[in-house]
Symmetry: C2
Subunit: 210 residues, 2 copies
DNA sequence: GTCTATAGCTGGATAGAC
DNA sequence: GTCTATCCAGCTATAGAC
């Protein structure tokens, strides 16, 4: 992918901002979340270490931009995956499957959203974007369970299960399986279904409206 | 920050090795897995930056020791928690609960086992110790499902769900709940039960315990 | 918008005295 | 086993030229 164009380090980029983000992602993919440095990303983008500061306030700003992109991309994916299903239970399962798929497709982006190590107080937008992801599950969960607290429980159960499968997949826990990705996807989906069924059994004496 | 505390920096420790590990854990607890440096740990232990090298080959060796300790401690906890239950399903639930509890009690140790960023090829012992954790679930899972592949699925489903709950708890996703820890524990346990029930429905014609 | 140059800092690791 | 001293590397960020 990266042609051996060893930039004489003097050319201007069409979109340095994007190039830096891309380089950062590669670094994270190769060396983990802690493996990203502004200096190395600059080198890979073929610019000096000073150039990034025209596009990002500091190192953290670049990371924050990536995390935000990660959330946005996830949201879009999950929304699409869920929209393809008519039934609430199917939507929850679709989410779980898409969650695992995203972790596999965009490993660096996925890891960053959980391990960027950013000061949450300094980037409140990210917290917002993160919680908006789980909100996608509110509609189907409420359709199934009505009550707020119990619906919330179902949302968390499905998401937690999917997250665990995703982490296990990336961490190599499933390495002994024939097709780890397919395995994780299937597991996440069927766990979502099982959790939905189990939780759906207990509407505590009908809808307890607040 | 603490420069006023000018350690005489000349005293000998009873157990520097342990003191360094402890300081490292505090660093991770405060600043995340990436927040650990040998230099800062040395400062906190009240010794020079050269001292650690008499106890650890390098920075990675200290981290590896911690990760190993984390696995050992987890194993012991899970074993104990499971031993208190007579039924396989209860054992799986007990594991899930204990898993969340460990993450809460030993946050730094828990985070390190997943984000130490160690070269797995260089520390094969850690991989071994890690997978031995899930093996604790094999016995109850096999009792419930007999078949190897299906039992494996149940093991992974329960563990993944527990892991997700633990991460959500630490990440603050449950911050809007009254008692996040209790919530996560309960959720992990009941999810384990739900998954056990669902997966237990399809035993390949072997003896299924009630 | 990008470069060169640089300041300032922190960390990992080693050598040799005690 | 611990210290002092030191080296070297790498990163972040800024200033000023073009």
């Amino acid at each position: 992918m990266n042609e051996s164009v060893k930039r004489p380090t003097g050319r201007h980029h069409g979109d340095l901002r994007r190039a830096l983000e891309q380089a950062a992602l590669e670094l994270v993919a190769e060396n983990g979340p802690g493996g990203f440095t502004l200096a190395e990303a600059s080198r890979r983008a073929g610019v000096s270490v000073a150039a990034p500061y025209k596009h990002f306030a500091d190192r953290g700003a670049l990371l924050a931009a990536l995390v935000l992109r990660g959330y946005t991309e996830q949201r879009e994916r999950y929304r699409t995956a869920m929209a393809a299903r008519p039934d609430p239970a199917g939507q929850l399962a679709a989410f779980a499957e898409a969650y695992v798929q995203f972790a596999a497709d965009q490993r660096a982006l996925f890891e960053l959203t959980f391990a960027a190590g950013l000061d949450k107080a300094r980037y409140p937008d990210l917290v917002e974007a993160g919680s908006s992801l789980l909100e996608l599950l509110d509609a189907p969960a409420r359709t199934l369970r009505g009550d707020g607290a119990q619906a919330r429980g179902l949302v968390l159960a499905v998401a937690a299960s999917a997250h665990g499968q995703a982490v296990f997949l990336l961490e190599g826990v499933l390495a002994d399986q024939p097709d780890p990705l397919a395995q994780a996807r299937r597991q996440a989906a069927s766990a979502a279904k099982a959790l939905t069924d189990a939780y759906g059994q207990t509407p505590p004496a009908s809808k307890t409206a607040p």
